[in-house]
């Protein structure tokens, strides 16, 4: 075992001082065989199957922590989109599925479960529509269930009717969870080009191309990248910065690979992918904004921020791709505003506007994430924000998402603290102008020329 002291101390420092961790081990469970003409029976099967497969998930996570000395923060479950499972029962109220998922998650001891999901990027089935209508109540009534919907893809274009309906769903969810600052919306996300193996909540679900069960891992390490750049200093060239980030991402991903393989082996299932994403938390030092500022922008949101983020996202992907044959999910840099102390500070000092944030999402790995908007935002304006983000994803053939939270009773510049991992948000100003005519037109934005590749 010929490791040098330097190698050993570097690894120990990552875990001890730089808040490196395996952010999540997510077990994907196919619920395709839970379809039933009877709603209650179908929900029963959903509960039974999640518990049946997920029972040992937490125990296996803990045993790997004990055996390798590597912290695994979250253990979660992602399921087949419920709209597919529920289609057979024909019910208009799909909240019983959310209750079953919530109860199963509680039984196996996990904090979140993803998969209250529908794909509507081209059109609605009856079950998709039922799921949309059920989302506000499902999220208000349950604690652990996360909902996601696909509103656009490069191949299909943007379903603007779905965008408008989704904006209504967001507003209703915020209203139903008004006493908690619209917290239900933190569990609700829409996608353009969703990935089927995303292990991160709230967008986690098990796509239809996946197997019976699969174990995906999400690793994170903004703190590690930040420390490496601090050591590099401000005089190194950007090539050296990219190289440093790449090397760090490589090491982080290797840990994900080790944990993923081991967790899959212990559960007796397939190891799917490592999602190497720099996912910030409100903890000091665990911030993507800090990395951007170390690369050299005075404050996140200043000119140069998009370029710095492009460098960061690309270098993370390259390091990850070298480290594992199974890099998947979203892999890149997340920029959830409320969960990143550096981003909150940037918003507070006026450096980071909603417009700049949108520009940044063209090169980050997700999109507008954990963005607080005024509680009285109109449905048309919210639809516009969502449609813009979907368009970025559609044209650039990348995943983009919107997790916007209308904070009831709060206006631009006001603060709201959701506590815990969700952090503190400052309500962003969406501007004075609306897009009502476009919103009223409805219909579909056709697929772009980029999609014609056959």
């Amino acid at each position: 075992m010929p490791f040098t002291d330097q190698e050993i101390l570097e690894t120990v420092r990552m875990f001890e001082l730089e808040t490196f961790d395996i952010r999540t081990t997510t077990l994907g469970i196919s619920l395709m065989d839970c379809a039933d003409p009877d709603l209650e029976s179908s929900a029963e099967k959903v509960y039974a199957k999640i518990v049946h497969h997920g029972r040992r998930l937490v125990e296996v996570g803990k045993s790997i922590e004990a055996d390798f000395g590597v912290p695994i923060i979250n253990k979660r479950v992602a399921t087949t989109p419920i709209a597919l499972v529920a289609a057979a029962c024909g019910s208009k109220d799909l909240v019983p599925f959310a209750r079953a998922m919530d109860a199963a998650a509680a039984e196996i001891g996990i904090d979140y479960i993803g998969g209250f999901t529908a794909y509507v990027h081209k059109g609605f089935t009856r079950a998709d529509e039922a799921l949309f209508l059920s989302i506000p109540e499902a999220l208000a009534e349950t604690k652990r269930v996360c909902a996601s919907v696909s509103l656009a893809t490069t191949k299909a274009g943007i379903n603007m009717d779905a965008v408008a309906k989704f904006a209504d769903v967001v507003l209703k969810t915020a209203a139903l969870t008004a006493s908690e600052g619209g917290l239900g919306c933190a569990k609700l996300v829409c996608f353009s080009n969703p990935v089927e193996d995303n292990p991160f909540i709230a967008g986690a679900h098990l796509g239809i191309g996946e197997g019976e069960t699969v174990l995906n891992v999400g690793v994170s390490g903004p703190g590690v990248v930040r420390s490496a750049l601090e050591r590099l200093g401000p005089d190194a060239s950007l090539l050296a910065v990219a190289e440093t980030i790449k090397r760090t991402a490589f090491k982080i991903t290797r840990m994900g690979e080790l944990v993923g393989r081991e967790a899959a082996r212990r559960l007796g299932t397939v190891f799917g992918i490592v999602d190497v994403s720099l996912a910030p938390t409100p903890a000091v030092g665990d911030s993507v904004a800090d990395i951007l500022e170390l690369i050299g922008v005075e404050r996140t949101g200043a000119p140069g921020t998009t370029a710095a983020l492009a460098l960061l996202t690309d270098a993370v992907k390259k390091g990850g791709a070298m480290a594992s044959s199974s890099v998947g999910g979203l892999s890149g840099a997340f920029i959830p505003v409320s969960e990143d102390q550096g981003m909150i500070d940037a918003v507070a000092c006026g450096a980071l506007s909603l417009a700049k944030l949108e520009a940044m999402t063209t090169v980050c790995s997700v999109g507008l994430d954990m963005v607080a908007v005024p509680g009285d935002i109109t449905a048309s304006k919210l639809s516009g924000i969502i449609a813009d983000e979907m368009a970025i994803g559609m044209v650039n053939q990348k995943t983009t998402a919107v997790r916007a939270i209308p904070v009831p009773g709060k206006g631009p510049g006001e603060k709201h603290d959701w506590g815990g991992l969700l952090g503190t948000a400052i309500v962003q100003d969406p501007g004075a102008f609306d897009c009502e005519v476009m919103w009223r037109r409805g219909g579909r934005i056709p697929a772009p020329l980029q999609s014609y590749r056959n």
Partner: protein, 163 residues
């Protein structure tokens, strides 16, 4: 009957003194409740129903053993790092604990900086010994204001620093 699940509705419909289940059938908690209330026995292939071992699907059996790993020349290894305030006896305490756990110290290095020290030990674990209890015992050594022991599996370093 061949079914992947037995639901409460199934139990009500099938009725009878007992329901014969194929191996691998998952009985939902609601079905078990209804069956118990109606006095219906749920019978598997070899006696009363027991929840089956999860069937993880056709991909699972051939998935993981074929992945290549970085080459290891030894058995299970530990990397022990110790950091703290220097005083006589620290090395003795750590190595005595390792000896009691039948760990062979392969490499050791130590530096002192002023009143503090850090130490890195690479150890091989005897065959048949488990990692977790050794780790727990070692990490109980020292304490606040004295020194801190961290124990990690050699695989962590192998994955991170060797390809």
């Amino acid at each position: 009957m061949t079914k992947r699940f037995l639901t409460a509705e199934d139990v009500r419909r099938l009725g009878g003194p007992e329901i014969q289940l194929e191996s691998g059938t998952v009985v939902t908690p609601q079905a078990a409740e209804v069956a118990a209330a109606a006095g219906i026995r749920l019978v598997g292939a070899t006696g009363p129903y027991v929840p089956p071992i999860p069937d993880r699907g056709p991909d699972a059996s051939r998935a993981n053993d074929v992945l290549p790993e970085p080459i290891s020349t030894d058995g299970i290894g530990l990397i022990v790092t110790v950091v703290g305030r220097n005083r006589p006896g620290v090395l003795a305490e750590v190595t005595a604990t390792l000896a009691a756990a039948e760990c062979d110290v392969i490499d050791i290095s130590q530096r002192t900086v002023g009143a503090h020290f850090h130490m890195v030990l690479t150890c091989a674990v005897a065959p048949g010994r488990e990692f977790a209890p050794i780790k727990d015992t070692l990490q109980c050594l020292g304490g606040e204001g004295d020194y801190v022991v961290r124990v990690m599996h050699e695989k962590v370093f192998r994955f991170m620093h060797r390809v």
